[in-house]
């Protein structure tokens, strides 16, 4: 693993930590401080700092340090939380993420000292340090506890004498811990090279009353039997060059009686007056990373048995890296985590390149197609439904479906990270406009395919900006209307009939319909004498080239309007709707497919072609009797269903596959929801059935085709086209009163 790889891991983890940090602070803000959350937040910043130290990102370290100290104040006393301080902390999150980004791209981070000073002032940080000292004194009352170390005596016996012996003396300076290193990592790495004997020299350890938590007292004598070369050993300590006194000598002589030296080590610990002196015992108790998983090497075994002894606080001191606790730095250092990563995460999560998952999804698609082919062949071969072949096929179908949902679940992610990102957007817009707004989340754990999530970021960002910039009034106006000065933007997600629905609700002024209509007339989007319902007017904001902002702000006026939002959501196979109540706010509601890989399709025949409609779009199907069809104007036919007049869309003609139909009673009507364009009654020859189909892009080898969303491969190997219902409904040419909608759809 090269240094660059490790850095990459570090930044990937930073992203996770940032998400945790932001989530935590958000939780504190909305439901008050709670010690677990505060600890989680603290740990996140601490980990970032530790890792940053290991890579020498000094700007990051120094800011994270102040941030951490500020959080420590809250950690020590939850009552220290107030609105201004929370605000400051949230801003710090933004700055921290900027600094991380700067370090990642290798650019010069912005000066953070301003905010750092603010933090220091607001949290009275010099004061806090004293409090921490008091705490140390309180801990000094702990009594030491004897630990049963079991059969430690066996540990030192070497199994097989290896080629070379080295004697290493290792005395870390305090700065090593400050940079977030952990001696334990070096020992583990050495232990991987051969047989390692560790002796801890605690002679310099002062009495607890004289112990300074920031000093380094412990030294280690290491004997290593290994086949590795001296350079390999030196490489282990590469990271801490200059941070420790290190000497490596090749002895060639057998190691000393290690059982004895371990005893001596333990004894020396025992003799230490008191077991306290670790300012942050919590870190040990809670940190799973200090639990070694590689039993079998002496160091790990020692710690393992210590952990197994269900360490009371003082026992932690016996751990070789107890020292790390003294400086309150080492226990979670990222340098060590890079090495320990596999050990820790194996049981919980794994990081997989998304390409690998994509491949799996593609293969899964092929499997679905193949299974459909097999089903067709079995049908053709004339096997009965109860024949063993047919039954085996049913089994296969069930398995395929399960594999499919399993594979899809791998790629499914909660929408939370995207939602959390929005809180930053809101803060930015607020500070740019002087408005006050809070983000409220609901259903942020709702899961959806990552490809959908990625496509969601831009439109969501834009809509959130709009909600604050155009929706929420400034504090004075709000006050005069009797609303709380803080506006609320509520972002919620939930699953509904196989789709994910995302809603953005603000409690702002709502849409000013008069202004919207005037603007639309002025821009020539609607005719001057057009009669539009409130809903129609609201939806005008999605029309191309429409922007109501009187002054184009640099917040939401970026040259793109809501039409771009609508387009990008449509590109994801989604729909967006708006409803607004003047004076009370607006609600944007987006409905998106859960995945972009498969679709429940309704297979239909029309004009000799097999076509697929998304089942989610089909509201009902029916056959028509002569009396059901009404003619409006010369050529426009509508059908009365669901108490509405729904235009009949002759699909074959619309797609140019067939001439105009004359007899509307032959064939089947499918009432299809076409997003905000209302409904359409699609007329097709027949319905073949319902089937899960794999979405294949037409664009990858050809180009986007109007009215067609994508293609799929059917069981017989033929390609069928998946219809873009929204497009077909909005581009039909039957009813002149639709002219408005059509021009809106562009």
């Amino acid at each position: 693993m090269s240094l660059d790889d490790i850095k990459e891991t570090f930044f990937a983890e930073c992203a996770d930590q940032m998400a945790e940090l932001e989530t935590g602070l958000h939780e504190i803000q909305s439901s008050g401080p709670d010690i677990d959350t505060v600890n989680a937040v603290f740990r996140a910043v601490h980990s970032i700092k530790g890792g940053a130290g290991a890579f020498g990102f000094s700007a990051l370290v120094s800011f994270a340090h102040v941030f951490e100290n500020a959080l420590d104040v809250i950690r020590n006393d939850l009552n220290q939380v107030n609105e201004d301080r929370m605000d400051l902390l949230l801003r710090s999150v933004d700055v921290l993420s900027d600094v991380i980004e700067a370090e990642r791209t290798g650019s010069e981070p912005d000066d953070t000292s301003g905010l750092a000073n603010e933090l220091e002032t607001a949290f009275g940080l010099s004061e806090a340090a004293e409090e921490a000292d008091d705490e140390d004194d309180a801990l000094a009352d702990f009594a030491p506890v004897m630990i049963d170390l079991g059969d430690l005596g066996d540990l030192g016996v070497p199994d097989t004498p290896a080629g070379r012996r080295f004697h290493i003396s290792f005395a870390p300076h305090a700065s090593l811990y400050l940079k977030g290193h952990d001696p334990l990592r070096f020992f583990r790495e050495l232990a991987d090279m051969g047989t390692l004997f560790v002796t801890c020299d605690s002679a310099d350890l002062p009495k607890l009353s004289e112990l300074s938590p920031d000093e380094s007292y412990l030294k280690w004598q290491l004997d290593l039997e290994t086949e590795s070369a001296r350079e390999d050993i030196e490489a282990v300590f590469d990271w801490v060059d200059g941070e420790c006194a290190l000497s490596i000598e090749e002895t060639g002589a057998p190691a000393a009686d290690d059982g004895a030296s371990l005893d001596a080590f333990l004894q020396s610990l025992d003799e230490t007056e008191s077991g306290g002196g670790i300012p942050d015992i919590d870190d040990f108790g809670q940190d799973p990373e200090t639990v070694p998983a590689d039993a079998g090497n002496p160091v790990a075994d020692l710690i393992g048995s210590l952990e197994a002894a269900d360490i009371a606080a003082p026992a932690a001191q016996a751990e070789p890296d107890a020292e790390a606790g003294n400086s309150d730095e080492g226990s979670e250092d990222a340098g060590a985590r890079a090495g320990k990563k596999e050990v820790k995460k194996a049981s919980q999560t794994i990081r997989v390149e998304s390409e690998k998952v994509d491949r799996l999804i593609n293969l899964m698609g092929e499997l679905v197609i193949n299974q459909a082919m097999l089903a067709e062949r079995i049908g053709q071969a004339g096997f009965g439904n109860a024949s063993p072949a047919a039954l085996a096929l049913v089994e296969l179908q069930n398995l395929t479906r399960e594999i499919q949902s399993g594979v899809m679940a791998i790629r499914a992610q909660p929408v939370k990270p995207v939602f959390m990102r929005m809180s930053r957007i809101i803060r930015e817009v607020c500070s740019a406009t002087g408005k006050k707004a809070m983000l409220e989340l609901e259903g942020e754990h709702t899961e959806v395919d990552t490809t959908v999530i990625e496509g969601l970021i831009d439109p969501l960002t834009h809509m959130i900006r709009n909600a604050v910039d155009h929706g929420i009034e400034d504090p004075e106006t709000r006050q005069s209307k009797g609303k709380p000065t803080h506006g609320t933007v509520k972002l919620s997600a939930y699953h509904s009939s196989g789709r994910i629905v995302i809603e953005i609700k603000d409690d702002g002024a709502g849409i000013n319909r008069e202004r919207v209509l005037n603007k639309a007339i002025e821009k020539g989007i609607v005719a001057r004498d057009a009669k539009l319902s409130d809903d129609d007017i609201d939806n005008l904001i999605f029309a191309a080239g429409f922007s109501t902002a009187e002054t184009i702000t640099d917040v939401s006026g970026r040259g793109v309007g809501m039409d771009v939002v609508r387009q990008s959501i449509q590109a994801l196979g989604g729909r967006v709707n708006i409803s607004s109540e003047p004076g009370h706010g607006s609600l944007f509601s987006m409905s998106l497919p859960l995945t972009l890989a498969v679709l429940d399709g309704m297979i239909v025949k029309e004009a000799g072609q097999t076509l697929v409609l998304p089942v989610s779009a089909v509201l009902e199907t029916a056959t028509l009797k002569p009396g059901d069809v009404y003619t409006i104007g010369k050529n426009n036919r509508v059908v009365k269903m669901r108490n509405q007049l729904i235009p009949i869309i002759d699909v074959g003609r619309q797609l140019g596959f067939a001439d105009k139909r004359t007899d509307f009673t032959k064939g089947t009507i499918m009432v299809v929801e076409g997003g905000k364009n209302g409904m359409g009654a699609f007329l097709v020859d027949s319905i073949e059935g319902q089937q899960q189909v794999v979405i294949k892009s037409l664009e990858s080898n050809y180009k986007r085709v109007p009215s067609i969303a994508a293609a799929t491969i059917l069981g017989n190997g033929q390609i069928a086209l998946i219809l873009d219902c929204d497009h077909i409904v909005s581009h039909q040419t039957s009813d002149p009163s639709d002219a408005v909608i059509q021009s809106m759809a562009g």
Partner: protein, 155 residues
Amino acid sequence: MQDDLEMQTVGGEEFIAFRVGDQEFCVEITRTREIRGWSQATKLPHSPDYIIGVINLRGTILPIMDLSARLGMGLSEPCERHVIIVVHVRDKTLGLLVDSVSDILDVGPDHLRPVPEVNPSMSSEMFNRVIVMDKRIICEISLEAITPEMELQAA
């Protein structure tokens, strides 16, 4: 790969030649991926007449272009004896419907000529070069030139 081929053919280039109507055309052999028989294509709506439709090429959607129609030589009526030459154009894969594959040519630089100025109706910009061998005249199709609409989408 390409270099190897050129080495073997002593400075010459290899082309795959095929018939469309009563004429012969060719493309560089390195641009072709495979040759396959005709199979029924699925029609695409709102597409130019020279795009016959799409077929399933082992799980990918392959658009098929009627080369005869594209070159202004009239629509083909695809049937079993037609052949599809699968070629790479830009980052995409395209099937060219031709009457038959006629030859694999190893052409030295002497036989490669620039496209002469001919009647503009024959759209000489669709060709890169002309191979003149014995009594045969074979135009090399410019795959980029015959697929301008795909370029727009690729951007």
